[in-house]
Each structure stands twice: as structure tokens, then as C-alpha cells.
Symmetry: D3
Subunit: 66 residues, 6 copies
């Protein structure tokens, strides 16, 4: 019955990659805690690089600085 929220920057993750994150996270909860996969929910949020900051800078700026 776990609920997992994964937040990543919106930089081109494909539907296949997102499906793999969902599959992998669900399996991890089965393997580590014996959780029921049927009621395990995983929600992925993709966030614009203007809206994500680390070290006080937006990712937009960090990407430009290389």
C-alpha cells in the first residue's frame, strides 16, 4: 500500500524510462518490505528547470553554465 512520489526535472524522460522507474520502485518495495504491489502507487512529477533550484540557483542557469 505504499505511495511513492518521484520528482525529476522535465528534460526528456521517455514513457519507457518512466515505466521502468515505476516498475523498479514497486519491485523494490516488494523485495525490501514485502509490500503488496497491487496497491503500490508511484507518481512521477516532471518539473521545469526554471522551477527547480539547487545550491540557490535554478537548474536552467546551472545547465547554461555547463
Amino acid at each position: 500500500m505504499p505511495y511513492v512520489n518521484i520528482k525529476i526535472t522535465r528534460e526528456g524522460a521517455t514513457p519507457e524510462q518512466k515505466a521502468e522507474l515505476i516498475r523498479g520502485t514497486t519491485q523494490l518495495l516488494v523485495d525490501v518490505l514485502g509490500k503488496n504491489p497491487r496497491t503500490t502507487v508511484v507518481v512521477i512529477d516532471e518539473v521545469d528547470t526554471d522551477n527547480w533550484g539547487i545550491g540557490g540557483e535554478t537548474v536552467t542557469v546551472l545547465r547554461q553554465q555547463g
Copy 2:
């Protein structure tokens, strides 16, 4: 003063339905806990079906399987 976050898949909820969720949730907190509706906040997130997983599968795939 409660804060409520409702996450649903983005599958065509109308503005009227979303207004009804906001009204209903706020009223529930008044009725059950006597909360002040004026500072009760409800935020609805609509999530793409590619980004929502249950049972290790994306909702996109589950909808295709019917």
C-alpha cells in the same frame, strides 16, 4: 487551516467537478473537525497517465489493457 492535496490522473475532470471536490473536501473538514473553511486550502494535481503507476504498470498501459 488544513491543507489538502488531491492527486488524480489527467483524464478530463471538468472545472465544475474540480470545484465540487474543493467544496466537498472543505465542508468535510468543517463537519468532522470544526475547521475554519476560510483558511482551508485544497490543491488538485492532475497527473499524466504515463506518470502514474499502480501495480508496477503505468495507467497508460492499464487503460489500453482495458
Copy 3:
């Protein structure tokens, strides 16, 4: 398949009141959007009044001011 997170201050909500919030929210999603209640998840977070602010003040201070 919705996921709902309700945040309230920790000020003595009883198990019965919390069960009523869970029941009511789940029913609301059935009534308004036709969601499947069996996979609808509701999580309630109770937050210390020192850790909740509104209007720039903690709820602890607001309660003292009456």
C-alpha cells in the same frame, strides 16, 4: 486510484474523526469523479503547532493569542 494527503495540526483528532475523514474523502471521489474506492488512498499528516505557520506566525503563538 486517487491519492489524497490531508494535513492538519496535531490538536487531538480522534481515530474516529480520522476514519470519518478517510471515508468522506473517498466517497467524494466516487461521487464526483466515479473513482474506484478500492485503490483510493488517503494519508493524514498531523503536524505540531510549532511547525505550522499562517500569516507568518506559528499556530502555537496564534493559539496563545486566542
Copy 4:
């Protein structure tokens, strides 16, 4: 290492304003708690006014009422 999530209505915040929120929040955590800014993450969610409710009404409706 803190994580901050700021939710605002989507009503035209500019990239500069969002960068300022990220910078200011990160600095606040340095000043108040001595946190390491390099691993401080700030994520801003902009939410449609149809999806944000306060006082049981959507912000869309509240804006129309002035």
C-alpha cells in the same frame, strides 16, 4: 540538505521571480539553521487557478468576484 516545495497559483511568475524565491529560501535555511546550500533543493509548483481552492471556492471564481 533541506528540501522545500513552494506551491503558488500559475498567474505569471517570471523566471527571475522564481529564481529569487529559490535564492531567498536557500539563504534563509543557511541563515537560520546553518544548512549547506549546495544540497538544498527548492521545487516550485505552479497550479492552475481552477485547481486551487480556498474557503471552498476555486481561485478562478475568487478572481472573477474581485
Copy 5:
């Protein structure tokens, strides 16, 4: 730079199991999306069974019903 929040019921997960969830989730984001593990944050919330509902019932009640 991803942020992951895992919510589970508070039912005795050990520090080792939680460390394994953190390790596994971080590795998954490296493997699937090539994310930098050094800035990948995972936060686990353990929620009382009275505060977690599924199917309109608290987990406390569901556990009693077996």
C-alpha cells in the same frame, strides 16, 4: 538531483530496510535516467495505521479484519 518521497505505514521497518530503500531508489535513478546520486534525495515517511486509508477504511481496521 531527483527528490523521492516514499510513504509507508509505520509497522516496524528497520533502519537496515530503510537504508536499503534509499540505496535501491537512488541506484534506480542512476540506472534508468543517469541521474547524479550525490544530489539525489530520498525521504521516507512512516505513517500511523490510523492515519492511512485505502478503500475508505483505515489500515488499523483492515489489519483487525485480517
Copy 6:
């Protein structure tokens, strides 16, 4: 009307420090975006170091390694 959630590790933040985070964050939203402080909500979550991971390690382990 913004909502801000600040997550920090539970390592002894005082009520005064938490009040300062709430005051500072609220003021930042007034200064940068002209938001109404009276409906600005700030919630602080303090998370056990066993439940917070960065770089694939729990903060408990990182603190031991100095």
C-alpha cells in the same frame, strides 16, 4: 495564498528557529510575488536521520562518518 513545505532532518531545530523559517518564508513571498501573508501557509516536517537519504546513504550513516 501560497503553500510552502519545508523538510529538514530532525536534529534539534528550536521553536524559535522554526518560527523564524515561517516568518522569513512568508515575507519572501510577499516581497517577491506580492502574495497575501494572511493566507500563506508554511508547514515544516522534521524527518528522522534514518529516514533521510542523500547519495544513497542515510544521514545517520553520513553523520557517523563525519
